[in-house]
Amino acid sequence: MLFEARGLTKRFGGLTAVSDVSFGIDEGEIIGIFGPNGSGKTTTLSLIAGMLAPTAGDLVWQGQGIVGRRPFEIAEMGIVKTFQNPQLFPELTVLDHMRIASHLGFKRALGARRLFTLVWPWAAADIESGADAKMKDMLHLCRLTEARNEKAAALSYGAEKMLGVAMAMMCDPKLLLLDEPASGLGQEEIVNLEAVLRDLRAHGVTLCIIDHKVGFLGRLADRSIALAHGAMIAQGATRDVLASDAVVEAYLGRKHA
């Protein structure tokens, strides 16, 4: 198992945002996380990515506990999270964004030898061109090649979200945590997103995706978990989860006779 959450719990004061949630993710899977607004989906991913500290519970990544690691360490280990609302820099172009995100690649490739590139920048030329090639690939993968010189401010909401994914991909994640990549997207953009996510999986990336609508993720996810009020109310094959009474009730607020 690539990743496992055991008894994951997060309280904010009196509010229990995530309550005793346990699930596992296998390599190469697409896992869906469903749940109505405020059910603790984002909090769950933030806990995994180290942006919040769990109140209780364990997170195991490739057999190793990661609770207490800082977010950048977790990113370095291969878990990268995107944001529900794209966090972009309006005055920078798409390529600028990608360049900023290329940092981990350099660190992995050069380690302490990066210091040498301060006085001898040409030492990094291969890696620099490697990074450029990777930027190109990722932009292509995320259907952003044409927009590469646009300012972020000029992008459509769908393209902004794609850029968030492309930046995360620059970190070579093994597990990519996507927070509602489909929300706010038009029908055409969702089709596009689905194709991108399938391509990512084909690249060997394991995906854990939040969505609060059932539509597109229902087609995409191999397995799913459903949350309501922070608690896990169902898990298993996506179709079964979405059809389960508990989930139907959570969404509709009453039993579906």
Binding site: P71, F72, A75, L92, L104, L118
Partner: protein, 313 residues
């Protein structure tokens, strides 16, 4: 295009002494170059990493005091004294930065806490009479010497100091430029733009903020080492908040989004009070008015008017 501006400016600066006649002009330009260096290193922390530090004058002043004391009172060689001076500044910046960044102080809070540390250091300098001569300050009579084939040459005279100041600026500029062009610059950009996003993309925000703060502060110290020997005088005023504010003004006037902007800001704000012959009070008012104008009307500063609106990444 804009990439060549610094090189053209350097060529002009190297040739300028051929055309400068009066010692007073030399003095203004030399001060301008030294303060421009402070503005450049400040902008590494402020414009490029997004941290409004009020510690810059302290770094500058501490280094000025330490070199002057080591040279005047302990008869050290000037060039050797630079080492401990910069090491001390690095240590102070490391401690202050580590405290601020560990407690995740941002923006206003970071500014206020660095200001408090800066004042603490100033008060130590003011009250440590036996070493610093307190509020009276110290006169620095020793002159650093440079090795040359025909024996040591003292750093004295308007022309020589002009070139010394220019060299300090070039060193500061090149160090900042190298840092920003490397992977470090990308991490700084990530921090300036969005710390949280940077952290999820694998940037050790604490480490790189600290790095920016320490590098910037040490470069400010470098200017301090020379400054006292140029003016021949050191006083606690060097470490004051006003001094930090002056540096901030230069950066805002010149433009925060480049390394070259602060050079312009430093030179202009140093020269202006001399070019327009005003009483001290009027000078301060004019100075304030210019700043307000810049902040309201051209937030990218003078250099920003010509530059494509974009931070170096």
């Amino acid at each position: 295009m804009m990439r060549f501006v610094p090189l053209v400016a350097l060529a002009c600066a190297l040739a300028a002494p051929l055309f400068i006649r009066s010692d007073s002009t030399f003095a203004i330009v030399t001060f301008g170059l030294l303060l421009a260096s402070l503005a450049v290193s400040f902008n590494l922390i402020f414009g490029f990493t997004g941290q409004l530090s009020f510690f810059h004058a302290a770094s500058f002043g501490v280094a000025a005091y330490i070199t002057a004391i080591l040279v005047s009172d302990y008869r050290w060689n000037f060039w050797l004294a630079i080492g401990p001076a910069l090491a001390t500044v690095a240590m102070l910046a490391l401690v202050v930065g580590a405290i601020c960044f560990r407690f995740k102080l941002r923006e206003f809070y970071f500014a206020v806490v660095t200001m408090a540390f800066s004042e603490m250091i100033r008060l130590v300098v003011v009250n440590w009479n036996s070493v610093t001569n307190g509020t009276l300050g110290m006169t620095v009579t020793a002159q650093p010497t440079l090795w040359s084939p025909s024996g040591p040459v003292a750093l004295s005279g308007a022309r020589v100091w002009y070139y010394v100041a220019l060299a300090v600026l070039v060193v500061t500029y090149v160090v900042c430029q190298r840092v920003l062009a490397s992977w470090i610059g990308r991490c700084f950009a990530a921090i300036r733009l969005n710390e949280q996003l940077g952290e999820t993309l694998g940037v050790n925000v604490f480490l790189y903020k600290l790095l920016s703060f320490v590098i910037g502060s040490v470069l400010a110290g470098l200017v301090g080492c020379f400054y006292g020997f140029y003016t021949g005088f050191i006083e606690p005023q060097y470490l004051s908040i006003t001094q930090s504010l002056d540096i901030i003004s230069m950066v805002l006037l010149g433009g925060v989004s480049s390394l070259f902007g602060p050079v312009i800001g430093g030179l202009v704000l140093t020269a202006l009070p001399h070019v327009i012959d005003l009483t001290a009070e009027l000078r301060i008012i004019l100075y304030g008015a210019i700043l307000i104008f810049v902040i309201l009307v051209m937030p990218r500063g003078i250099f920003g008017l010509f530059e494509r609106p974009h931070h170096a990444v």
